[in-house]
């Protein structure tokens, strides 16, 4: 038990260091800014679209043909924003995690101490999960507030459900970025591997019968919820599939890192 306590103390020290690093290197602030932009930008863009159309030639005529923007459109825009850009942000911010330490040689000093390699890898995942979730929460709350202010009341529970699905979708890419960071000798290489893996995951939605269980299944589910219709098909398979993928990425990261020689 004493050994487990010692290992846990190392794990928490490593997580603490990672979180402080995210703050001191301004990465946390960048993430907050990006998710704030997602949360603020989507409803604003939907609300202002008629005004933008009006300013165009014949815009006044065109606008009469279009229905006024709704909360459902704002929610859909928010979901699309996360689905289109969120995962890229996660990969770009996460590719540095292990590869950066290998490239700058800081890993060799730390790994010559009694820190098991699995703790090194998992502490990075845990810290990223906490930091990204915090930034995502700020973005999600902002989106909810803006939608309520601009379009009227929206079901809180519905927004929570949508955001949980979106967060799970993003967690997959935290796992991808971590695996890529372990695989890459340099940060640039890790970025390349990460985006390549992301494309592969994107293609996986086309796998017959199994595609709906991929992270993309979560996005489909979130979009259905966001359309605020009665007929939403729950897809728990997508949750299980995504969690399984994240687990595979984590185990893969640890196993590969255990076998690597650190310069």
């Amino acid at each position: 038990m004493r050994t487990l306590k010692f290992t846990l103390s190392i794990f928490f020290a490593a997580v603490r260091k990672e979180i402080v690093q995210q703050w001191r290197t301004k990465r946390f602030l960048v993430l907050i800014a990006v998710f704030l932009l997602f949360g603020l930008g989507s409803p604003l863009l939907v609300k202002m679209t008629p005004e933008l159309i009006k300013s165009e030639p014949n815009g006044e005529e065109l606008i009469k043909l279009l229905p006024p923007p709704t909360a459902a459109e704002a929610v859909a825009s928010y979901i699309d924003m996360i689905g289109s850009f969120g995962y890229i942000v996660v990969i770009l911010m996460g590719m540095n995690a292990v590869a950066g330490e290998k490239e700058s040689f800081t890993a060799s000093l730390i790994l010559s101490k009694p820190m098991p390699r699995w703790v090194f890898v998992l502490s990075k995942f845990t810290a990223q999960l906490l930091v990204y979730t915090s930034a995502f929460l700020i973005g999600g709350l902002t989106a909810y507030y803006c939608i309520v202010v601009l379009f009227g009341a929206v079901d809180v529970l519905l927004m929570i459900k949508i955001n949980v699905l979106l967060l799970m979708f993003l967690v997959t890419y935290i796992g991808i970025a971590l695996l890529a960071s372990v695989l890459g000798r340099t940060v640039a290489a890790a970025g390349g591997v990460g985006l390549g893996l992301a494309v592969l995951i994107g293609f996986s939605r086309n796998i017959p019968h199994y595609g709906k269980w991929t992270p993309d299944g979560l996005m489909v589910w979130a979009r259905e919820l966001g359309s605020i219709t009665e007929n939403v098909t729950a897809n728990p398979g997508a949750i299980i599939g995504t969690l399984a993928l994240v687990l595979i990425f984590l185990i893969g990261s640890v196993v590969l890192f255990e076998r690597q020689e650190i310069q």
């Binding site: 004493r2 290197t25 040689f105 800081t106 060799s108 000093l109 730390i110 790994l111 010559s112 098991p116």
Partner: protein
């Protein structure tokens, strides 16, 4: 995770032991069946040319690389099983230590101490002691990113010592430093004598001569010798006359050619106004050298018969 009791402990009394350590990188054999024993309390110089296998050995000891075969033990615990517990017993400083630039020395030492499981009270005390030891108190709250090479190296030694290790493993600790930084680090290493076993690799022979009491020479992945510094130097006879000329202008005169023609003279090395003449027949040399030199018109301030330097021995052995 294993307890200490579950880990195989060596019965020998050495700080570091390597048994048949080999490491292959493809077809290249970086280490060939290396056997090494570092006694407790010694300052051990691990000497070799660039690419001899010094860093590979040290990285295996530090758990950063695995051997192709063989085993290594540090402070009684097998280091080659990459068990993280083994790493509690030594401190390690790589050739080019890299720190988190956004941290301060206090923050880094605190992080390192946490990884070794030191309590808050112990951490505070050790951080203060270490900063004092390496003379970094005045910059203890400055970002490491702005530190000079010497300061980084001293911080490296501090982080390696923060947990009271039994063994300190240093990989070329002085090779990237200017003369002042080198002096500081060597003084620091010398000050650790008797408190911790120091194993340090280098290709700078002067460093070994200054601080080490035991020496091993590695060449092309093989250990060529292992001995106490004194025994090593004593093995080689006093066969070199060191002459200090009155001024360095004399050092490149015709006298050199005349001396080189003498059958009992082996080699002549000059460095500014110091001439080192190695002879094959010491008795003949002691009898004939001084009259010969005087006859050639050289003005000599001092003459002394000395042993070959470690550099001479190293070059001879690793030739």
């Amino acid at each position: 995770m294993k307890n200490y009791s579950e880990i195989q402990i060596t019965s020998d009394n050495n700080a570091i032991s390597c048994f048949g350590l080999s490491r292959n990188y493809g077809k290249v054999q970086a280490l060939k069946d290396l056997n090494l024993t570092v006694p407790y309390g010694s300052i051990f110089g691990f000497l070799g040319r660039n690419g001899a296998g010094k860093t590979t050995t040290i990285r295996i000891l530090a758990g950063l690389a695995r051997p192709s075969s063989g085993s290594a033990w540090v402070a009684g615990i097998e280091a080659t099983r990459t068990d993280s517990i083994a790493r509690q017993r030594f401190g390690y400083l790589p050739q080019n230590p890299a720190f988190y630039h956004w941290m301060t020395p206090v923050e880094y030492l605190d992080y390192a101490a946490r990884l070794f499981g030191l309590s808050l009270k112990e951490r505070k005390q050790r951080i203060e002691e270490m900063l004092q030891l390496v003379d970094l108190q005045s910059v203890s709250h400055r970002r490491i990113g702005g530190f000079s090479g010497g300061m980084v190296q001293r911080l490296g030694i501090a982080q390696a010592l923060v947990h009271h290790p039994q063994v300190l493993i240093l990989d070329e600790p002085t090779s990237a430093l200017d003369p002042a930084g080198r002096h500081e680090v060597l003084e620091l290493i010398a000050s650790l004598r008797g408190r911790v076993t120091v194993f340090f690799s280098t290709h700078i022979l002067n460093d070994v001569e200054r601080v080490c009491d035991t020496v091993a020479i590695i060449h092309k992945g093989e250990r060529l010798l292992e001995s106490s510094r004194e025994d090593l130097l004593n093995k080689y006879p006093v066969n070199t006359a060191e002459l200090e000329l009155d001024n360095h202008h004399q050092a490149d005169g015709e006298w050199k050619e005349t001396l080189e023609k003498q059958p009992w003279i082996n080699s002549i090395q000059t460095e500014q106004n110091i001439v080192r003449i190695t002879v094959t027949d010491v008795a003949r040399g002691k009898q004939a050298l001084l009259p010969l030199v005087a006859g050639l018109g050289l003005i000599i301030n001092r003459i002394q018969w000395v042993r070959p330097s470690l550099e001479d021995i190293f070059l001879k052995i690793s030739a």
